[in-house]
């Protein structure tokens, strides 16, 4: 087995990202059933969302800055250059929006949700936007990974026939 630091950092990025999305989904479920008894749980889930997305930001950012360049070169020479040109370019900037929303969520859950319909609506909106944008970012990551894979596979196949 040969697992590099780059592999671990990339998997941590995706893992924290998806855990952040699940935590935001947890916030939605709790908020739909908001009462005085689950107020602390809602705030904990919101904090978990922010912490996970922050960790995904740090791990993903470190990997992108230090390890992405060779993969980018492979993608651009391969059959799916749009995996970088469209998907990575969009993902790397869309992620900031998910991050801002994730940092807003713990602030939004400080209001008294069970007696304030507007505050509940805000929390549901922010958490839903985190889930949607987060899943788009996760999906874009899959396309980027596939862009590298088929560049290697088809590049290798072409190399074998020439």
């Amino acid at each position: 087995m040969n697992i590099t630091a780059s592999d671990l950092i990339l998997l941590a990025h995706a893992g924290f990202g998806v855990t952040g999305c699940l935590a935001a989904l947890w916030v939605i479920v709790e908020t739909l059933n908001a009462s005085s008894s689950n107020a602390a749980r809602i705030r904990s889930a919101a904090l978990l969302t922010a912490v996970c997305i922050a960790a995904a930001w740090i791990f993903g950012g470190y990997w992108y800055v230090h390890f992405y360049a060779p993969e980018k070169a492979l993608i651009l020479k391969g059959p799916w250059p749009f995996a970088h040109d469209i998907f990575m370019e969009t993902k790397e900037h869309l992620f900031f929006i998910t991050g801002i929303l994730a940092f807003l969520l713990p602030i939004a859950t400080r209001d008294v949700l069970h007696s304030n319909a507007v505050a509940r609506r805000l929390v549901l909106a922010v958490a839903s936007l985190i889930v949607v944008t987060g899943l788009v970012v996760e999906g874009a990551g899959a396309v980027i990974g596939h862009g590298v894979k088929i560049a290697l596979l088809r590049g290798g196949a072409q190399g074998g026939t020439k």
Partner: protein, 108 residues
């Protein structure tokens, strides 16, 4: 817990301020991505600040969100606005900013 809004259908001053800050920050994020993508000079300048344009971009978004959040919360500016409209503005800004990024990198 933010006091004073428990029985009102209104966001607290702190929450309203940070919602407004987030609305501005998500739109700023997309605008900066567009400008940076069409201006190599700006891209290089941002790279010179932290070593990578993406790092600078993220820090700029974060600082803008936090600073505006503090300003809007303390000034009471956001609190004066209708809370429902603030939420709608945040949803609309997120949708526009996200679509703006996708369409820009797909077609420009």
């Amino acid at each position: 817990m933010n006091p004073g809004n428990a029985s009102q259908n209104k966001l607290s001053p702190a929450t309203a301020g940070y919602v407004m800050a987030a609305t501005v920050a998500v739109l700023f994020n997309t605008a900066l991505a567009w400008i940076k993508d069409s201006s190599p000079a700006l891209n290089n300048f941002m790279k010179s600040l932290t070593g990578h344009h993406w790092t600078t971009h993220g820090l700029a978004d974060l600082i803008l969100f936090l600073v505006l959040g503090m300003v809007f919360s303390k000034s009471g500016m956001a609190e004066k606005m209708d809370s429902g409209r603030l939420i709608t503005a945040l949803i609309a800004a997120t949708a526009v900013a996200a679509l703006g990024l996708g369409l820009w990198f797909a077609f420009v």
